[in-house]
């Protein structure tokens, strides 16, 4: 997608591109996270914005690495979807320049609250990452997008600050509302799950979602932004759809705990969990329980070795510290939130049909991360 946008091959895309001032940021060091908040697990992302930092919209999102998705390396990025987003952003720009006061109010929600740490290399956990430490000292280097999330989570842990739900169940996909979106359009609905929040609100296939929570939308990523910043306890999201060219106002109700319906564990398959804690051990859900799917890759050179040594691939975790019935997200949330340096963790796993206790201790001192 980056190549298509930069290159001359698509005339329509090039014409749209030339109406923007284009900036490419290839690393997150020095990037102000008070302005640029986006799904950190994606491979490519775009902000459309004004010179005064008013954000018009986002494009690009992460997706689970399923067998189906592997056939299509980037199912959420299509040139048609990007063109639709660019056209919508240009329209918002015209409206905003004509009436900054009115549009400024509608667009204010597209900028997030100032995060606890505004720069990735300034987070308390960054000193454990050799490369980030060098960048903070003024050397050149690269901070990866997913490291923004990892250092933030590690920093919450180090400072013993409770992780908010939206640090774990982040950027919920429209599926959490019961929506499947057509990625060739800005925000067009292609499926509505029966009995879902979207179905109950009266959303129909073919509707173009024009705004949510009064924010104009340019893409599916914009829907995820609205959900990412929506309260965990639920409430009503006012939405405007265009149906057969006419505006229709709907109310989408989300119940308390709606955010936790989505599995977030897939996000960590590539980036690794908090490396000092899990050494890259990854999990998947199954009918029997959470299954150990993969152990640490070699590049976690000095991360915590104990889970890697004691857990085996295909182990089914049926109990954690006496708690049962956890799915992958619940397990990860418990470990990331409730455990501390030096804590003991006791699993009961099914291995070869036998219940086997597996116990290990989180190191008292966090190892410095050598790998990427």
């Amino acid at each position: 997608m980056d190549g298509q946008l930069a290159g001359p091959s698509d005339e329509q895309l090039a014409k749209l591109r030339d109406q923007f001032v284009c900036v490419r940021l290839i690393q997150m060091g020095g990037v102000d996270l008070a302005t640029f908040q986006f799904d950190p697990f994606l491979s490519w992302s775009v902000f459309f914005m004004n010179a005064d930092k008013t954000i018009y919209g986002r494009f690009g999102r992460a997706h689970p690495q399923t067998k189906r998705n592997k056939k299509d390396s980037n199912p959420n990025h299509t040139p048609a979807g990007l063109k639709a987003a660019m056209s919508a952003a240009l329209k918002i720009h015209q409206d905003y320049m004509r009436d900054p006061e009115q549009w400024g109010t509608a667009l204010a929600g597209k900028t997030g609250a100032t995060p606890r740490w505004r720069f990735a290399e300034k987070t308390p956990a960054a000193r454990r990452y050799k490369r980030l430490k060098r960048i903070d000292s003024g050397e050149k280097g690269c901070v990866h997008c997913h490291e923004v999330q990892r250092t933030a989570i590690d920093s919450y842990f180090m400072k013993r600050i409770a992780l908010p739900d939206n640090m774990l169940w982040l950027y919920p996909r429209p599926a959490v509302l019961g929506l499947t979106m057509d990625n060739r359009h800005a925000a067009r609905v292609s499926k509505v799950a029966p009995d879902s929040a979207a179905a109950q609100a009266g959303v129909r296939v073919g509707d173009d979602i024009v705004s949510m929570s009064a924010q104009p939308l340019v893409s599916i990523a914009d829907i995820q932004w609205v959900l990412h910043t929506f309260p965990d306890k639920g409430g009503v999201i006012p939405i405007e759809v265009a149906r057969a060219g006419k505006p229709v106002m709907l109310s989408l109700e989300l119940e308390d705990g709606w955010r936790r319906k989505e599995d977030f564990g897939w996000r960590y398959r590539v980036a690794g969990y908090s490396s000092w804690l899990w050494a890259g051990v990854s999990f998947r859900d199954s009918k029997q329980g959470v299954v150990v799917a993969q152990r640490a890759p070699r590049w976690f050179k000095r991360a915590n070795e104990e889970p890697k040594r004691k857990l085996q691939p295909r182990d089914v975790i049926v109990e954690v510290d006496g708690k049962t019935g956890m799915d992958r997200s619940a397990l990860l949330a418990y470990l990331m939130r409730d455990k501390r340096l030096g804590s003991k963790v006791t699993f009961v796993v099914l291995r070869g049909g036998q219940r086997v206790p597996v116990e290990f201790r989180i190191p008292k001192k966090q190892p410095e991360v050598q790998g990427y």
Binding site: V23, V46, F48, L90
Partner: protein
């Protein structure tokens, strides 16, 4: 080597795609203000 090659490819891409501003958001803000155009900021 792989990382260096990837960076080289990115730089080539950018030069092929006319005047993209590389890793300098302040320059982007200034140019957008001067031209009245909106910004497209890509992360990868």
């Amino acid at each position: 080597m792989k990382r260096a090659a990837a960076l080289l490819a990115l730089v080539s891409l950018a030069s092929a795609g006319d005047d993209w501003i590389q890793d300098d958001i302040e320059k982007g803000y200034a140019r957008a203000k001067a031209t009245g155009k909106p910004l497209l900021v890509a992360f990868r």
